[in-house]
Structures are given as C-alpha cells and as structure tokens.
C-alpha cells in the first residue's frame, strides 16, 4: 500500500518535471511562471514520511534540472525545501484545511526557489536582477500565482474525492 503511494508520488513528480520542461516556455510571463515540478512535489509528498518526502523532492528537483536546462543544483535544492515544507505541513494537517495549507506551502516553496535561483545565478556569474526590486516584482507574484494554482488543484482533488465517496455510499445502498 505504502509502496504504491510512493510509486504514485514519484510518477506525479516526474510528470510535473516533464510538464514544466515542455510547457513552461510558453507560460512564462516575465519572472512569473507555473512551477509544475514544485507543485507536484508539494502535492505528492504531502502524505509521505519526512525521509521519503525529501528524497522524492530532491530527485524531482534533479530531474527538472536535467530536463529544464537551468543551473544544476538549484532545482534540487528547491525541490528539497518544497518537500520538507510539504511533509511538515502534512504532519500537522487538519481536515478541511488541506487546500489552504497546500497553497501556503506551494507559495513558500516557490518563493524559496526563486531566491535560491537568484543567488545561484549571481554565484555563477550570470545576470541576476537587484534583490529588492525582484522580491516585489518577481518573487511575490510568482509565489501568489503558484499558491493560487495549488489551492485550485487541491480544491479540485477534494471535490473529486468527495464525489467518489458519494458514489461509493450510493453503491452500498
């Protein structure tokens, strides 16, 4: 049962990385773009234990680094942080609050990723905009967009789960 859950989580993360590598060039608007890999990590590792979560987050990030063509290590670190936050949030979750919690975790993860990416570019000698302006014009809208996406996705999944449960109850009658 648990193996199935980990396998499914791995597939979700791999799919997220692939989607981001292929689709994000068309969906990027300045510094804002949907971070499918981080969203997939947050969603997939939410029910997992800490160790499984961070391993999955790390390797999901490495996969995105390989597919996306960015600086290696940045995605890995971003995935790691996203997984850690999601696993911790998963441990303290309350029923009915999953969507909000996931949105917060996604927003924080994306903000962390953006800052790591900026620092990484600076260290690698590539162009990096000034931090002050970027925090407001880049990190904030990016985090808000991805937080909203995570919330919408969680709400949709919850509705799907409720509908499935409803069908089960009807079937029992």
């Amino acid at each position: 049962m648990e193996q199935t859950s980990v396998l499914r989580a791995s597939l979700v993360v791999a799919l997220g990385a692939l989607l981001e590598a292929v689709l994000s060039p068309y969906l990027t608007l300045g510094p804002v773009s949907p971070k499918f890999t981080l969203l997939a990590i947050v969603y997939a590792v939410y029910p997992l234990g800490d160790l499984q979560a961070v391993l999955l987050g790390f390797f999901g990030g490495v996969l995105y680094d390989a597919l996306g063509g960015g600086i290696f290590g940045v995605g890995a670190m971003g995935g790691l942080i996203a997984a850690l936050l999601a696993a911790r949030a998963g441990a303290v979750r309350r029923k009915g609050m999953e969507g909000l919690l996931m949105a917060q975790v996604a927003a924080l993860s994306v903000a962390a990723y953006d800052i790591i990416n900026l620092a990484g570019r600076g260290l690698a000698g590539l162009y990096a905009p000034p931090l002050g302006g970027y925090l407001f014009a880049g990190v904030l809208p990016d985090a808000l967009l991805n937080g909203a996406l995570a919330y919408a996705f969680a709400a949709w999944m919850a509705r799907r789960a409720r509908r499935r449960k409803g069908r089960g109850w009807e079937a029992e009658r």
Binding site: E2, V54, G69, A76, A87
Partner: protein
Amino acid sequence: MSVGRKKSGPAGGLAAVLALSVVSLMLFTVYVKEGDCTSDSGCGPLHTVQLGAAEVLRPVRALLSLAASPFDVAQDRLAGAFSGEEQELRRELRNAQALAAEASDLRRENERLRQMLEGERPGYEYAPLARVIAPVGEQFTNRITINVGTEDGVRPQMPVIVGNNILVGRTTGQVSRHTAEVMLVTDHNFAAGVRIVPPAEFDPSTGQVDPSATEEDVTYGEGILRTNIEGYFGVEYVDLSARAEEGDYVVTSGRAGGRELLFPPGLFVGTIESVSSTDLDQYKKIVVEPAVNPDDLEEVRVITDW
C-alpha cells in the same frame, strides 16, 4: 488524496535534508566549474545530461511549437485589431484577403526562404536553415532552441542571423546533435562589439558599409551592445564626443583594437531609438530598437565560418 503512513521520524528527515543540501551544493559547484561545452575541455557530465535531455525532448517540443503556432497568429491578429488604421484597411480588403490568404501566405513563405537561401555573403559558411523549436523558459533569459546542431556544423559561440545580415543572437554551450540553444541579442548576458553608422553609409539589406559617405572630421560611436541592468537594450561606453544620432544604424564592429570578436563585421543589429546624456555622465545613453522582434522569429541561420 491518498494518505500513507508516516514511518520516518523528523530526525531522519533532518539528517537527509542536510545531506541532500550538501549534495545540491556539490551539484551546483560541479555544474558551474565543469566544461560548459564552449571551451576546449568539452562538455562536463552535467551539461552532457542536459544536452541529452534536450535531444530526447526535441520531438515533443517541435510538436508543441507546431500546435502553438495558430495561437501566435491569433495573438498577432488580436494586437492588430487595436490599431484603427489597420482595422480600416482590414475592412476594405476583407473580401480580397479571404480569397488570396492562402496564396499570399505561401508566396511570402517562399520569398522569405528564397531570400534566406540566396542571401549568403561571399566567403561565409552557413549551417542549414534552422527552425525555431521553442523558447527557453528559464527566468531572466531570452533564448530559443533551434533544430540544427553539431551534425550540421553548429558549435557554441556562433553568430545566428536572419536574412543575410541581421544579427539575432549567438549559440550558447548547449548544442546537441540536432538542437542548439540561441542566446538572443536582448538576453541580459549577451554582449557584442558594435559601431554606429549613419543610414547613408550602411545598406541594411546587403550589409555593405560605404566608407565614402563617412564624414572625415566626425568620430562615429563604438561601444558594447547589451541589455543594461536598468533593462534597456542599448550601446554602452560610447564617448560623449562621438557621433550617435537617433535613426543611426548599429552594426557589429568585428574587431576591438587588434582583437577579433565573436561576430563578423557589418551584421545589422538595430536602429538607435534615443540618445541622451547628462553633465555627470561619462558616456552616452543610447537605446536601440532591435532590427527583428525576437517573438517573430521562425527561421534563422547560423554562420559557421567567415
């Protein structure tokens, strides 16, 4: 949402986070320090992995690019609809356009391809005509992927043009067998040695500079073309005394002193949009309008030798 059981404790997780953070930093360091395919030492393992992934994803990206092209056309039409004059013309020509649309598209495509194939500079070698597969979606970059690679003679750091002499960028270290990443002129990491020439002296269609039209007692501006940290695309380090006026052309200089640069001389980059300076400035502030809108790129060519 499926819920699995939690087995590992926070301590195990924390140890793993610390270890994996170190691994991430090591990956970062190796990536930055290893050969980035532009140097003689060749590609490092992590860059090779990225090139392999680009090669694997090439068919998917090409398909997606094909699927996205109708949306680009729709976007262009939508933008055009806001222009009053264009709207008027569109109304007048609607019937004729409906009949001739397909033929016109084909003719335009044919002319553009012929111009690209025939408009070769003597003594220059080109890779085959390349199609833009996809933009590169990384933050802070302005790059595209094209469908030619090392098998077509493309190597890192080669000039990429449209037509026979309009510079649009250069290849980066990410060149695989069938794909190459192109850093566009508007990318923040792009830089090229350029000079400023008056319109009378330079023919943008041929790339020929006519020195006889140059005034003898005037020094024409030379500098570095790049996107400034303030975000404008322009020429930097042009002396206040040098000539640079609105409407002048910006072309690659090819040399800086005795040193040969990455780009051959005479490639047209754009037109000067504005020139300004204050008493405190050491150099002129020159804003350039690129000759080609990077969003409109469809086919490009790589100059492999000159």
